[in-house]
């Protein structure tokens, strides 16, 4: 904003605002810090009742101890398989579908697109009961596919791809068609290379959603061997509800992939959230 106030007063205002925002940020960051501080400090310090904002010592062994007590690596393996398979399937299907909506004219296109958008309006929580029954009827309870397939079609992604691909010039596609390229070749060789930014956004969001998913795995994966990281963390909280060192250590490990994504792909995250404002 452009201001009409005097420079001195403006500096005073800016300073106050900065202090306020920094204090707020400290409060916002504190839970993350506290998870780390709890996971790393000597176990007996937790129950001392005193306020020690800084751990007296760093016990890295807490992490190995937690890992040896919990099948965290199995949970991670399950989560990784689900999230990676979901990324491959969902991103491919999103791109194909979004491309068709953006660059083809065909009968029923608008109706079908409204259908896709209306899928956005149906939260999984509303249909969780019949969805569970459908997955059970398909014989997919306690299987990876049971959590991958129901969420493989993602309306948000289709919507984002369409928005992005509308701006790809038609002339490029026409030129390739005149060259005799098949529609699939055009998609793979012309459209995809131009769509790298949106592909990055889709990969990051799909991975994040599937990694963080809870309600569908909770209902579908009842066998503890099939547990994902989130289900495991929930189990820990219920069963070992006084072992806060272990719980915080596992919580921190469960966040690791997200923190890596956050540090390296923040631009894509912001673009995905801000660009469409959806979800």
């Amino acid at each position: 904003m452009v201001t009409t106030t005097s420079p001195a007063r403006q500096r005073f205002e800016t300073g106050g605002l900065w202090l306020l925002l920094t204090a707020g940020a400290a409060v916002m960051f504190f839970p993350i810090y506290w998870m780390f501080a709890t996971a790393i400090r000597p176990r007996d310090e937790i129950f001392s009742g005193a306020v020690n904002l800084l751990p007296t010592g760093w016990v890295w062994g807490n992490f190995t101890a937690a890992l040896s007590r919990m099948p965290f690596l199995d949970w991670t393996w399950n989560s990784l398989i689900i999230a990676i398979a979901a990324v491959v399937i969902t991103v491919s299907l999103n791109l194909l579908c979004g491309y068709a909506f953006a660059k083809f004219r065909f009968a029923g296109r608008d109706i079908l697109f409204i259908g896709v958008l209306s899928a956005l309006m149906i939260p999984i929580q509303v249909i969780i009961v019949p969805l569970f029954l459908v997955v059970a009827d398909l014989g997919l309870l306690n299987s990876y596919w049971g959590v991958i397939l129901p969420r493989a079609a993602e309306a948000f992604g289709i919507f984002m791809v369409r928005q992005f691909m509308v701006s790809i010039p038609d002339e490029l596609l026409e030129a390739a068609r005149l060259d005799g390229a098949s529609e699939l070749t055009i998609f793979l060789k012309v459209v995809l290379p131009l769509s790298k930014p949106i592909i990055a956004v889709l990969i990051i969001f799909t991975f994040m959603w599937r990694w963080n998913d809870f309600v569908l795995p909770l209902v579908i994966l009842t066998d503890q061997e099939m547990y994902t990281v989130q289900l495991g963390l929930n189990l820990l909280k219920g069963q070992y509800n006084t072992e806060w060192t272990d719980i915080m250590a596992i919580a921190l490990l469960s966040l690791a992939p997200m923190l890596v994504i956050f540090v390296f792909f923040q631009r894509q995250l912001i673009q995905g959230i801000a660009g469409t404002g959806l979800k």
């Binding site: 296109r109 079908l112 249909i127 569970f132 005149l178 919580a251």
Partner: protein
Amino acid sequence: MADLSMTYPKERSETTTSRKSGWWSSYRSRLTPYLFIAPNLLLFSIFVFFPLLYAAYISVHQWSLIDAPEFNGVQNYTRLLSDGQFWQSLTNTVIYSAATVPTSLILGLFLAIGLNRKLAARTLLRSIYFLPVVVSSVATAVIAAWLFNDNYGIINALLKQAGVGPVAWLSSPRWALPSIILTTLWVRIGFCMVVYLAALQSISPSYYEAAVIDGATRPQQFRFVTWPLLRPTTFLLLILNVIYSFQVFDLIYVMTGGGPGFSTTMIVQYIYQAAFASSEMGYASAMGMVLFVLILLFTLIQWRINRRTEQFV
């Protein structure tokens, strides 16, 4: 080859048509978009649209999964009307929404305006506010449960130093919902901030320059430039946040499990309990349908209001 077809496009297409019988070629090219959207459409049909219809079907039956579903008309729906726990869960959901939605919008807008100015470490501050967006709701719930822990939680420890408390945050019906509301704000503020920031950055500076020439003060610039131009964003965030709060599940399921008593049971939690703890599929589906209609109605009403007010502005 490429050059040839570039020079004689018509000829090429004619030869292809004559080689592969004409109707098939044109049929195939018209089929392409349908083939591209088919996998998604199939998945949506099986895992979204069919379940919605299926939910409507189950909702007029009594079904414990063991026997065949037994048609019982609107009994599940009439039972809802007299089910105190259903109304309690609905009330909890409304209170939760009323407490979280406007607050996260206002704080998100404040942060966005503040962090849109040139400030030291602005990028870092933005990142910190945004960080909770990537934290899973289970991890959020687990961390919050530890912070709010009655005996060893840091919040009570700090309160004790200040001579207050201890407060039974998660174990008393009075404080459990406020604890969850605070945790939700932690999650949602950053989300709103990011959306608002993007909207603010798309406002052309020339509007503000014109406002200053007209002698507008800072608050007036906000009132007459920023706020009207942010209307669509506010509207979108309002819808998204209300939908979010009406379908909240993970966070509360892990943090309190809906308790103590029934004090933090939201509508989705009650649906989950009816289906997977009491095996009342029909009753759970009826509640699912009600939730769906509520979300739909809310969105439509918002849409109408938004359109009508826009006409007058």
